[in-house]
Symmetry: C2
Subunit: 354 residues, 2 copies
């Protein structure tokens, strides 16, 4: 056995190896490796000898073994619908930074709004013993997460949340943001308004945005006709938007304004509006939920409801870390609710009719 190792393999050097070659115990080495040497009153000389040997043998601690032993992987999961969506990639970036600053890695998963896939991903991450989870869920209710909470997995829901929920969560004022958009549109004198959402509508953000938007219209005595109340399944966004816009155009019955419920929808709508050479905002005004950098310098620039991505990420990570570190979260801190802003640009401002 020994010979075999000896002969061929460049076996990784372990704690035991360096302990043996130094004639000390593994404990000792472990202590100095983890910087607990002084705290445990270990002879500075000995410590130096250990460090020397570590360098000499090129020892690399096996974090996996350590994690196994300590029940901690220093890895968190981030689950979103699509990491290539700018909103989520910015969140990912922010969370990654916070994680890095605290010695954590983050593994990302995209669900494509597929609930079964999402559950599988969560289960896999749990099996892999991640220390915590930040998730923008596609599920329909809080049941699954209440179970997660009971199971003691630190996690926080972001973006999409549920009202009756134990889990810490951070969300934005989707309802209020949508109301801002509606009021703004109304102030431009438009009455014929279309709305483009993704289905399933059970997703809290979408639901709230729809309700907020319609609430203002209703107050003004306006209803969105069914054919202008569009819902596109995640995989069919392109087709649905394209088809509907074309239909409007051909029939000559176009809305005066469109409210799109996320940045992806906004971009896609913009794309097909352009293809049809429909003038924005003259023929159709456009405003979307969720701002994206380029909206600011497109021609026309695109109005949007801006979400505080940095604050979302920061709050989420903080909430997660508290759970991981078993620090208490006061009830009123458990749900972080952030305001949004409306950024009015060219796309939604109707030219003055003199």
């Amino acid at each position: 056995m020994h010979q075999v190792l000896y002969k061929t393999m460049t076996k990784k050097v372990s704690l035991a190896d360096i302990a043996k070659s130094l004639g000390v115990s593994k404990t000792l080495v472990s202590l100095v490796v983890n910087g607990k040497g002084d705290a445990h009153g270990i002879n500075p000389d000995t410590q130096e000898r250990v460090r020397e040997k570590i360098r000499e043998l090129n020892y690399e601690p096996n974090a996996l073994a350590r994690g196994f032993r300590m029940g901690k992987t220093h890895t968190i999961g981030l689950i979103v619908s699509d990491i290539s969506n700018r909103f989520f990639s910015r969140i990912a970036r922010n969370i990654e930074d916070h994680a890095w600053n605290h010695g954590y890695n983050v593994v990302i998963c995209s669900t494509d709004e597929n609930i079964e896939k999402e559950k599988k991903q969560i289960q896999l991450l749990r099996d892999r013993k991640i220390d915590g989870l930040i998730i923008s869920t596609s599920q329909e209710d809080a049941a699954y997460f209440n179970k997660l909470a009971d199971a003691g997995l630190p996690h926080v829901l972001i973006d999409r949340v549920f009202s009756d929920m134990k889990s810490p969560n951070v969300s934005v004022d989707n309802f209020g943001g949508a109301r801002m958009a509606a009021r703004h549109l109304l102030s431009q004198g438009v009455k014929k308004i279309a709305l483009i959402a993704i289905s399933p509508v059970h997703i809290s953000t979408i639901d709230e945005r729809i309700r907020g938007f319609e609430s203002v219209l209703n107050e003004a005595g306006i209803t969105i006709p069914p054919e202008w109340n569009i819902q596109a399944p995640f995989e069919e966004i392109e087709e649905v938007i394209k088809d509907n816009l074309q239909k409007f155009y051909q029939r000559g019955e176009m809305p005066e304004a469109i409210f799109t419920l996320n940045n992806n929808l906004t971009s896609t709508t913009l794309k097909y509006l352009r293809k049809l050479s429909i003038r924005i905002p003259e023929e159709i005004a456009l405003i979307g939920f969720d701002d994206v950098l380029y909206f600011g310098f497109t021609r026309p620039s695109i109005s949007a409801i801006e979400q505080p991505v940095d604050r979302i990420s920061e709050a989420a990570f903080e909430l997660l870390l508290k759970q991981i570190d078993k620090k208490s979260i006061k009830p009123h801190e458990r749900s972080v609710f952030l305001p949004v802003d409306i950024i009015i640009r060219e796309s939604s401002v109707k030219p003055l009719r003199l």
Copy 2:
């Protein structure tokens, strides 16, 4: 000791637990858990009893322990300069999909082009025993990766590669793409051309794009004057572009065209060109390396060199998997080299001068 566990903790159930409660051995349970029951000729009834118990006790295999024992984490690392850059978030998404299909998770790290940070990240991932690594490096030469190769860590370099390199890698024709851009610009009759790059220029993609672009200009007897050969450090892209564009504008000495070396640079340039109300393409034509969805429907739409993101990701993952699975990679497969396309849109087409 036992009492303590017994009393309070809802200890996770382990293989041993279900083995004990069934009066069988851990081996047996392990075998059926891993679906090797039949192969080892284990009594179907026994197998069913085990499965039953697993359900009853809600047993969840500890993938961490398994990984520790087997020396495999089923996790790969993806290191890029910035995951929120659309180019990389698309790559991430693609790689994540491939990984998921093969039972792997991916942990992402953004380096901000910081070499020291990158090295720390790699080291951390190695300590965490990831099975492999896909990286768009910011390093200056292949030395580090040659060492990685020697150390036996499966990895593949993407996007940015080195010529003298052992590591499998996948890159695109940066040189050729830049030449296309240059030829196109020349065909529009422009002679006064500026180039905006990120520094450090040692990054292979940037270097190649610059060389490719200049080679065509040189052939046409054109040189880019130093003040139009702009290099922006990663953290100062905004400022540098803004300042330079302003300078051109104020002095009234503007180039007729600008070539930007990545999508971020293109967007930022576009942004400040607009702020200065400089007309594109009439006053300044613009073409960038790396295409982004919205370039297609901006007004004007933006010309760009398009990279085959899907193929990059696919090739990279395949190359990585082969290494992880210890399958041989033929020498000629070790470097995947992909073509790029030029997409000519409005921003780079000069109006006819009659």
